[in-house]
Each structure stands twice: as C-alpha cells, then as structure tokens.
C-alpha cells in the first residue's frame, strides 16, 4: 500500500491477536457475537460481516460502544447512507456504484429498449440494489415490468420465475446474493430463460453483484452473464498480484472479493493507528477520514470523510465463456473509473454522529 506507515513489527510495536465469531448471517447473532468480543475479549476493532443487515447492526453497536468497525462484504447503500456511523468504515463498493458502472455496459450490450423484471431479496441490500439498478436502467430508457420481493433463503424460486416466462420482460435482474443467487440463477436457466426470445430479442439475465464463489456455485449457468464486482483476483496490478500469490500459497485457491476487502480494511486500520501513534478511536477515525492511498488493487482510492465510503474504480464482469482454469470464472469487461461511479456525499442521507461516545 502506498503510502505505507506500517513497519513490519506489528501495530505500534504490538503483536496483533484476534478472536472470531459466527454471525450466522443474522443481525441479532452478529450483535451478540460482536458485543462478546468487545466486552469479554476487549477487542480494539471489529471487522467482517458478509451481509448488509449484519454490517448495519454491528456498525450501530460499535458506534454505541466506541469501537471502530471496518465493514467487510456489505453492498447496501444504507451502510454508508442512512445508517452510516462515525465509527463505521466501508472499503467495499455499494449498489449505487454498481448501477452507475453497469448502466452504460448494459446499454452497449443490450440496447436501450428493454423490459426488465426484478427478483429481489427482501431485505436492505436487495431493496437498495433494486433501487439503484432501476434508477440507472430506467435512465437508459428501459422499462421495469415488475419488481418482486423474494424471502431471504427461499431455496426454490420456481414460483417467482414462472411468472417471468409470460410477463413480456426480456431481461431478468436477479438482486440476489450468495446461496439465493446460485439457486435463482440455476433455476432460471433450468426454466429455459436463457434460450428464450422475447420482443424479438434474446432474453438476458443480469446479476448486478457477482463474486467468484457464487460463480463457482452456479457453475456453467453464469457464462456470459453481466454483473459488477469490487475486485477480482485476475487484476494485474502489483498489489493484487502480491495478495493473490500470498493467499494462493496458503490456501491453494485465489482470494474472493470478500477476502480482499477484509484484508484491505485491516491494513488500513493498522496503518491509521501507526500514523497517529495511538489506538484511541477518535484519532484513528480522523486519520482514516479523507485518507488517500493506492496499490490495493483498485487504483487510487479515497476514504471520503463525509460518509466513510471508499471511492475507487469498479469492475464490470461477465461469466467467462472460455475459462482457462477452474478459478477463471469471471472476466473483467471494464474497469469503470472512480469519476463515473462517484455521487454527492449527501445523496444517500444519514448522519455520522459524534467522535466521542
């Protein structure tokens, strides 16, 4: 990372130790786990969460308890929007940035006369993504036929997919992540959606948030499908290559975007402590706010002071048609520059709250 303050002797000369907890992707379990870490184990910083509901819940707790939360995989606008907190920081991108990055690519690939049908996971992230994708696709001239909410962890999506067949829509947008996305995409393909022609056009499926692990789960079904990603292991910058090499030697497979964002967040926190010479949260927060850095895989990056959202290049990816290895599942179609995905700091609302709690 550039500029680096870390000297390779721990953080402020202290050895880093950690404890872990299982969030069970449930907000209450995550809060209980984080509370135990803070009260019993005396942690100085909390990181992780693989689910926006969890991230927002833990971020709120961390604000109350005066502990810095370096969010992991959380993509909802709310995390650094209406639910932003002074003690919470997000390196991962959000749905607004996904929409802004994907919009022009979808227009180029599929044109601007399309009818979209959304299937949306019924929680903060799903609503946020549906809103962002609708905003940017409707701006292109696309129409939204329907936006149907599906319960989280529905498993069998057949009852939601069959209405798409006769809806007149020619694009299905799957606002699902993880297991839901694997199941809904697999079942959409089983129902023959990718072989259909509607309104004289080939039917298309879009998965706005993609990850290699999901691509692995969905197997052959992801080939040719567009989405966006925070980072991909195939990036050729020196920082990404060094991280992939180190991670690959340890685990035998390349890191996911979630692993990448958590790694970067931990380094950023450690670096901020080193720069200000203390672990005291208010000073560390001030060191992170507005911090500009490079070399972590997404080009020049800034932690915007007003909402604690990182701004950097965003990747538009597509399921690889001809993978060269079992890990080569996503092909980076475009690295969308930061300027294209940036938005005004007050656009998503919210209030950071005080430095001292």
């Amino acid at each position: 990372m550039k500029p680096p303050a870390l000297k390779g002797n721990g953080v402020l000369g202290k050895k880093v130790e950690y404890v872990t907890g299982d969030t069970q992707t449930k907000s209450d379990a995550a809060r209980a786990s984080a509370k135990r870490m803070i009260e019993k184990d005396g942690v100085l910083m909390v990181t992780g969460a693989s689910f926006s509901g969890v991230a927002i819940a833990v971020q709120g707790l961390c604000q109350e308890m005066g502990i810095i939360f370096m969010a992991g995989l959380t993509h909802s606008n709310d995390t650094t929007g209406k639910d932003k907190r002074r003690y919470g920081f997000r390196h991962f991108f959000n749905t607004e940035m996904s929409g802004a990055a994907l919009g022009p690519v979808l227009e180029k690939e599929f044109g601007n006369d399309r009818v979209a049908y959304h299937l949306t996971a019924d929680y903060t992230w799903g609503w946020s993504q549906e809103g962002s994708i609708k905003k940017y696709t409707e701006a292109l001239g696309w129409k939204t036929k329907a936006a149907v909410r599906t319960p989280l962890g529905a498993g069998d999506f057949s009852q939601y997919i069959t209405p798409v067949l006769k809806s007149g829509a020619d694009v299905l947008v799957l606002n699902h992540y993880g297991k839901d996305m694997v199941n809904s995409l697999t079942q959409a393909v089983q129902f023959g959606l990718r072989d259909k022609q509607v309104n004289g056009k080939d039917f298309q499926i879009v998965v706005p948030l993609f990850s290699r692990l999901m691509a692995q789960g969905a197997s052959e079904n992801i080939k040719g499908i567009f989405g966006s990603s925070n980072w991909n292991w195939s990036l050729q910058d020196e920082g990404s290559k060094a991280f992939v090499k180190s991670f690959g030697q340890e685990y035998g497979f390349p890191p996911s975007q979630a692993a990448h964002t958590c790694y970067v967040q931990t380094i950023l926190y450690a670096d901020a402590c080193e720069r200000v010479g203390t672990f005291a949260p208010p000073q560390v927060i001030k060191a992170l706010e507005g911090f500009k850095f490079d070399g972590m895989g997404n080009g020049a990056t800034e932690y915007r002071a007003e909402d604690h959202q990182c701004f950097k290049d965003v990747l538009v990816v597509r399921g690889n048609q001809n993978p060269s290895s079992k890990f080569d599942l996503l092909e980076v179609v475009q690295e969308v520059p930061r300027a294209q995905v940036e938005y005004p700091a007050n656009m998503l609302g919210g209030d950071l709250g005080p430095y001292e709690v």
Partner: protein, 273 residues
C-alpha cells in the same frame, strides 16, 4: 391459463417432496407412535448420498495448471474419464440417478440404526420428549454433514439430457412459451411412483398386512407369534429410504446444503398433522 398451469406444476413438484417426507413421518408415527423430527435430516442425508457419489465418481488426477503462475494450482481430470473416455463421462453425468442405488442400502441402514440405537428408547415417553430428542438428533446430523462437506450448497446437476426444459405448452396445445424443466417433471412422476409403491407394499403384501394389523392391535399380533417389533423397525428403515430417495432426486433442483432437511421438515410436519 398458462401461468396457472405452471404454478400448479410448481406446487405439485414441491408438494411431491413434502409428501414423500410426510409419508415417512406418518409411517413412523402410525407404527411406532414416535414423532420423528429427524426425518428432515434423513432427506438431507439422501441428498448428500448424491453429492458423495458425485464426489467419488469425480475423483481426479491432478495436473499442475500452468495458466496460473501466482501459486501452485492444479487442473483435475476424473480417473473415470481417463480410463473409460466417453463412457466415464456418461457415468459421471448420470451420477444422481445412479446414486439411488447407493442411497437405498445406506438409508435403510441409517434408519434401522437410528431406530435401534435411539428411537426405541423413547417409545413410551411423552411426545414432547420424542420431539426434543429427534430434533436434537437432526441438529447433530446437520453438523456432521456441515463438518464433512462445508456450509455452502454443492451443485449436483441432473444428466445433460434432462437438464433443459420440456415444451409442455406445445404438448398440451397451449402457447409455445409454456416450458417446464424436465427434471422437475421427472421428480413429480418419481414421487407418485414411490408413494404408490409404498401404498402397494403396505396394502398388498403379507408384510404390509402384518404392519397394518400391528398398528391397530400390536398385542394380538404378538400373541400370534409374529415379531411385530422387528417389522416396525423395518418400516422405520423404509421410511428413511423414502425420505432419502426424495433427497437424492431433489439434489439437482436445489443444490444440497446441510440445512436443506430443516427447510423441508417444517412444512412436511404440517402436511403430516
């Protein structure tokens, strides 16, 4: 009309899985008087029989993947394909239907072991205790599977030839847009056949007759010199096989994860009630 037909098929397909699980619950409750909340876990074990066979058939030779230079990665080619070429590929492709053959003896053994090892100690205990112990057993089985296979669902595809959709609209004289996945139609047929087979077994065989009479009056059947307990143990095994087969065949519809049984159990229990 088209949408209605598709939703009817959705309901029947999923209902088939629920019916197979509920059938096992009913058999066990009817014969042994036990409320078995571990029955969903048997469905899950069946699905993992399909996963296990797929893993066994795809045991692969590892060759260094030269396209990845950052770390040591390996390409894998299944030994079956190396040894038998296209025939090996065919066997791997058909791993789900083949795993039925594996699931029948395994689930029978699991069912009998479960009944002899745990359930029989709770025959005369209140239903609340039976629910607690079988629910606990289900959680234990889930955690074992999670530790062996991980927490992520594992794709277990249907054979290529039936992985697409049937144009049922054309077949029924409706719109050509009305399609339905072949495997779901096969599952629907399969559940009907299994339900009928169990019914026929209980209705038209001597074994079934003894079981049915034993359900009404266990003591009298025992006085006739028939070991009705042993027959009920076999019925428990059959119920486990039915749930297991339901799980095997459901694997291509929903990639099996350790939680799949619990997801099905709740609604199946309502069906059973």
């Amino acid at each position: 009309m088209d949408a209605f037909l598709l939703q009817i098929l959705n309901g029947l397909g999923k209902g088939g899985a629920y019916a197979l699980i509920a059938l096992g619950l009913t058999l066990v409750f009817g014969t042994l008087g036990v409320v078995n909340f571990a029955h969903g876990a048997l469905f899950m074990l069946g699905a993992f029989c399909a996963v296990s066979l797929q893993n066994i058939l795809t045991i692969s030779k590892k060759v260094k993947d030269e396209s990845i230079t950052f770390f040591d990665a390996y390409k894998e080619q299944p030994y079956l394909e190396i040894w038998w070429g296209d025939f090996g590929t065919f066997i791997i492709d058909w791993s789900v239907p083949i795993s039925i053959l594996l699931a029948i003896p395994i689930m029978l053994l699991v069912g009998i072991a479960m009944e002899r090892g745990l359930i029989r100690h709770f025959y005369k205990r209140p239903h609340a205790e039976q629910v607690l112990v079988t629910f606990g057993l289900a959680i234990v089985l889930q955690e074992i599977i999670k530790s062996m296979f991980g927490a992520n669902p594992i794709p277990t595809p249907a054979p290529d030839i039936v992985s697409g959709s049937a144009t049922i609209g054309v077949m029924l004289g409706l719109s050509a847009d009305v399609v339905y996945p072949w495997w779901r139609l096969i599952y629907l047929l399969f559940s009907g056949v299994v339900i009928f087979a169990v019914f026929a077994f209980l209705q038209f065989t001597t074994f079934g007759m003894v079981v049915r009479v034993g359900m009404h009056d266990r003591e009298t059947v025992g006085l006739l010199g028939i070991n009705v307990e042993r027959r009920f143990t076999v019925v428990f095994g059959i119920a486990a096989v039915v749930a297991g087969l339901a799980g095997v065949m459901y694997a291509p519809i929903l990639p099996p994860g350790y939680h799949i049984g619990m997801d099905f159990l709740v609604l199946s229990s309502w069906l059973w009630l």
